[in-house]
Assembly symmetry: C2
Homo-oligomer: 453 residues x 2
Amino acid sequence: MSKYTALDSALGRPRVLIIGCGFGGLEAARKLQHADVDVTMVDKTNHHLFQPLLYQVATAGLAAPSIAAPTRVLFRGQPRITTLLGEVTDIRPAAREVELKDGTLLSYDHLIVAAGATHSYFGRDEWATFAPGLKTLSDAFEIRRRVLMAFEAAELENNPVRRAAQLTFVVIGGGPTGVEMAGTLTEIARHTLSGEFRRIDPGSAKVLLIEGSPRVLQAMPEALSAKAKLQLEKLGVEVRLNARVTLIDANGLEVETGGGAHGTPANRYRIESHCVVWAAGVAASPLGRLLAAATGAETDRPGRIKVQADLSLAGFPEISVVGDLAAALSHAPGKEPTPVPGVSPAAKQMGRTAATNILHRLAGRPTQAFHYADYGNLATIGRNSAVVDLGTPFGPLRFSGKLAWLFWLFAHVYFLIGFRNRFVVLMDWASAYWSFQRYARVVAHVESDPNEG
Amino acid sequence: MSKYTALDSALGRPRVLIIGCGFGGLEAARKLQHADVDVTMVDKTNHHLFQPLLYQVATAGLAAPSIAAPTRVLFRGQPRITTLLGEVTDIRPAAREVELKDGTLLSYDHLIVAAGATHSYFGRDEWATFAPGLKTLSDAFEIRRRVLMAFEAAELENNPVRRAAQLTFVVIGGGPTGVEMAGTLTEIARHTLSGEFRRIDPGSAKVLLIEGSPRVLQAMPEALSAKAKLQLEKLGVEVRLNARVTLIDANGLEVETGGGAHGTPANRYRIESHCVVWAAGVAASPLGRLLAAATGAETDRPGRIKVQADLSLAGFPEISVVGDLAAALSHAPGKEPTPVPGVSPAAKQMGRTAATNILHRLAGRPTQAFHYADYGNLATIGRNSAVVDLGTPFGPLRFSGKLAWLFWLFAHVYFLIGFRNRFVVLMDWASAYWSFQRYARVVAHVESDPNEG
């Protein structure tokens, strides 16, 4: 019962296949939309997700449609761009075709692989049940459910020890997502839920942020990391640095500190919690391994594909890899190549370069090396709290606090897709700011995961 | 491991327990919020759902939070109202206590049961897998997924017969929900998705509305039913009246017409479809049976509890049943009692009467008989199409078409809870009206149900 859908170009136009409609894939398609090529974009969801605001869906601040734009709508006026919903299960570079889960085969002349990243539990995949990560809308709904249900369970719980465990929230990983989640969780406990419970004080909830390294926000300069930690603590987050998670189960986790290079003795302790969020590890999409096996491309430790300077694969100039799946280097003129960070501006720029290089190849011109234009780095922490590190022609501009928060806010609204979303998100934020309320506190499936304990 | 949480009133205030936070339960709690009683409201979800607009969530026109208000927020400023999330598994009238699924026991002095209704497949529960109904947010998400995924599957399908089945949508039941669903589905196919597909024409999709009786919208006067049918057909819906469903499976359904009172021969035929929506049968919440067994109360065929004139149960003056779970009669002064319809204004009015009667009993005054004030009936069909039947002091006022649609629209926005929701819903509708776009076209779980075929 295998299906076959050849991508046919009636006019004999070159066929470009893009896997993934995240920032990289979307930007590549946009760059190609007016070119004389037929583009097919395949993704396993029907929407482009604005991942930088996914934590807002997980913390009930935004409704899912505000940050998810249906891919079809984005290309409705572009007859040369075809959108398909399907999961890629195989890539066959020799045959120049890609297979979908339902058996559909798609052939291509040029392939852009932008399949992104997923969580990594560092080989402890059994932790996924107890500490969900935050990459997809389903993840966000699950975390939203666990957070809100923990307070509900605490209100019904008579045993003070179990009640305290219900009111303990643990975020593992001090990167941007972990910092945002921890900061927002304290805001929910201290402000949003205030006055809504009769038997518990939601404000007594503990929010812990566990980070294995000596500082949060490692991509930031040290001074901003320190500021971020202070701001987190001001919001009520307990930040535990140099703390490694050694076990997670249905009722909590075990953490180890010390025992490292400084010769301090190891100290292992347990935290009882029913709501643990994983924001620690990122691994390349499993498609990376598949592609590496088929092309002989090298991968790095998180499974990303090492690409050539122009983002293509050695021996396969018709295949490019962009975004979080690519281990790419930035080639600034006259400088040593530097690694490209796994952030959305980099994914977008790679998507544009890969698309441009396809057009160059079709025109018989040499391809360009990828050069990442780094405009800076920003992370929000919570209400009125953020850190910003901008590159300017006059040197770095670094600031934190309320101004940084406003900068973060408008930057994110600006990059959201669609006027409606920008408007509604701004409105929801304004209303949340004044009222401390969070609008999307809806849980459709109350039932807990059977594995959850 | 049984839990016990007695509802205690520190000041010895009477304890009122309300089961269900739909229209009836919510209105009862509101009526009691300033009275000298302690109210506990228990529900299996964390939100009050504005069910009249649930079909908009199912058809991707609205995000879930726009029609679901967190119950806690509604009573945050009312320290005497406690909200609990839990599923009632037993009611024990003799002990005046209620048991939740987790073992929690709640005792009461006064009980209002407002547990509502669920789908009925008339004894064919196996149909639920193939033809989901529309009562909860989960139901709406599942229908949204099936509708949007049918078009996606059709775009990937090479076989024309299977493609036609993917593009056939069947709604079973010609009540308000069925009519709304069918009308909106044609709008999605003809307008919303226009220009977004490359291999199929979404406008070629067939939408069938199957109704067992000789007319749609049976609660309406016959002339308005006929107008509704005409408007549906103008939108592109195939309306099949006097058609009984005899079978539903993973690939479609069987329908029988004729063979009835008029002596026409029975004609049975099959419709191939992968997206069937059930809007035909309603049954009382299973709690009804439980309560009837415990109190000896009578139930009617759909399982509703027959209540006394003041909505209480014979022999149990401290128990009232309101909303869709109650088979109540309206006692207009000087008239014969008439059955109360299963609509939200009736549920609200019953909630108010039940609450008032508790206050009367506490004050030692006689209870009131319930009197349903019928302000009319309205149903929307689709863009610019609705039918309205209003009772006025000068006789019935009936109209249809665009004016009726505007009336329907503003009536629904008016009754939505919360300024934010009213504003956003109006904005989403205005934008949908002008652009034909539907904003909430997001599917979080693409995977089809394993039972779906």
